[in-house]
């Protein structure tokens, strides 16, 4: 049995917000694959739960009127991964998601839970950051939106107030149209593993020119990050091996990996630089570019 002290089931986002306000100790549970593991390990901060597992309004994937792609944070990974909309418009997200855990976990774990945990290794974070995803957050103070990239404050810390819930993840039309990408998860195993380094590249190529590049890394800093300096350096340049070498050199300054028992900083840097080159190259190829 899980050591749950109080349990309230929320039927709607509004109700969940109300319940969160009523109990400052309460935490949300959606897919359960993180919260229940923490309870199993005796972590006290999850004794009071508000269950949003069955809130239908959080479980959707659709295109809005502006053809922006909107994902309900309560959608489980398998549904996101297999969604025809996702596969058509942002296949890089499917690529990333199918590396998460195993099938059973992906059938339960939600994409919103993955983001709200705020771990630097969250596999769904890097493709979404690279796609300039925007979050919609609802709370007692109403509705607000913020770029996903700004959502991560530090290890296991996100810009969510106690009474707030993530209600939508949006990738606007202009952020996926014409873009192609690639994701690579570097881990010690090929499944059921935490990323040592996760890398997403999303790019737009026209006439052998790299019109745009968004490069994101997981576990390369205390939060999932974008390599903005590198992106700025190479945007608009002609495709070449030299361009890839510039990226390899430049990303070192964008990232800030730490030494932990899982991997040392210099090793992570080795993987980061190797992946920067390889993942960007594959993204360029996916975008129809060639590298001479």
């Amino acid at each position: 049995m899980f050591n749950i002290k109080t349990y309230k089931e929320a039927g709607s986002v509004k109700e969940a917000i109300k319940l969160l306000q009523e109990n400052p100790q309460a935490r949300l549970i959606a897919g359960g694959t993180d919260v229940l593991v923490k309870l199993h390990k005796g972590k006290g901060q999850f004794h009071h739960l508000i269950d949003i597992h069955n809130i239908a309004e959080l479980d959707f994937i659709n295109l809005n009127d502006g053809e922006d792609l909107v994902i309900g944070p309560g959608t489980c990974f398998s549904r996101v991964e297999e969604s025809p909309l996702i596969r058509k418009h942002i296949p890089v997200l499917s690529e990333a998601i199918c590396t998460i855990g195993g099938p059973q976990v992906r059938n339960m774990a939600t994409i919103g839970g993955n983001l709200c945990n705020g771990v630097p290794s969250a596999d769904s974070a890097t493709p979404l950051i690279a796609l300039n995803a925007v979050l919609t957050i609802e709370g007692a103070d109403g509705l607000r939106q913020m770029p996903l990239e700004d959502f991560f404050l530090g290890p296991s810390r996100v810009a969510l107030k106690q009474h707030e819930i993530l209600t939508a993840i949006t990738v606007t039309r202009d952020n996926y149209t014409g873009f192609h990408g690639h994701f690579y998860k570097y881990a010690m195993r090929n499944a059921m593993d935490i990323a040592t380094i996760g890398c997403s590249a999303v790019c737009k190529v026209e006439d052998s020119v790299l019109k745009d590049l968004r490069l994101a890394f997981g576990t390369a800093a205390p939060v999932p990050i974008r390599c903005k300096d590198t992106e700025n350096k190479v945007r608009g340049r002609r495709l070449s091996q030299n361009l890839l070498d510039v990226i390899t050199e430049s990303v070192v300054d964008d990232v800030n990996p730490r030494t932990s028992w899982r991997a040392a900083k210099d090793f992570r840097l080795q993987i980061i630089t190797t992946l920067a080159q390889r993942v960007v190259k594959k993204a360029i190829l996916n975008a129809g570019g060639t590298i001479h």
Partner: protein, 172 residues
């Protein structure tokens, strides 16, 4: 902290009083005696407790029992009919995919879901491997398990059984 839930377990309707603190694994084992649901890690890392919820495999150790309300649950106990093994079960037996057996029920259920989902499709060994990546086995090195799933897929043996609330295998 009890609640009443209604669900279907292996084709039978059940009304159960469950503690909100209980995992589905605990309810299936302790209340219903479905001992095939094994606990190996209690953290969603080994898949030994895999059951199907509405024909989708999940780890019963990380599933609150209250979530099962209104759903249909399948465990390996329900897979053999009239003392005849399902084709996946039979393939596990025939291919030597069973050793200590503690991971076997979970593997059979994950494999059953995979086979049902890929009915009529040509799949590779690597695709099977990816489809079963949520189940750990320490005895077999997976080789015979993959072969058993391949064998279950290669033979055309599906039919729809409305009475059991989902797709089922019928022994050929």
């Amino acid at each position: 902290m009890n609640r009443t839930i209604r669900c279907t377990v292996n084709g039978k309707k059940k009304e159960l009083s469950v503690d909100i603190r209980q995992s589905l694994l605990e309810v299936l084992r302790e209340e219903l005696g479905l001992i095939s649901v094994k606990q190996g890690c209690a953290a969603g890392e080994c898949g030994a407790c895999t059951v199907l919820i509405d024909n989708v495999p999940i780890d019963a150790c990380l599933y609150l029992a209250v979530w099962a309300d209104g759903r249909s649950i399948r465990t390996v106990e329900g897979e053999s009919k009239n003392d005849k093994l399902s084709r996946v079960q039979q393939a596990f037996v025939d291919e030597g995919a069973v050793q200590c057996g503690i991971c076997t029920p979970g593997f059979v259920m994950a494999a059953t879901a995979f086979v049902e989902k890929h009915q009529g499709q040509k799949v590779t060994r690597n695709e099977i491997r990816r489809g079963l990546a949520g189940n750990l086995c320490r005895c077999t090195g997976y080789d015979t398990i993959i072969t058993a799933v391949k064998k279950s897929l290669d033979e055309d043996f599906f039919c729809y059984d409305e009475n059991s609330g989902g797709r089922r295998f019928r022994p050929a």
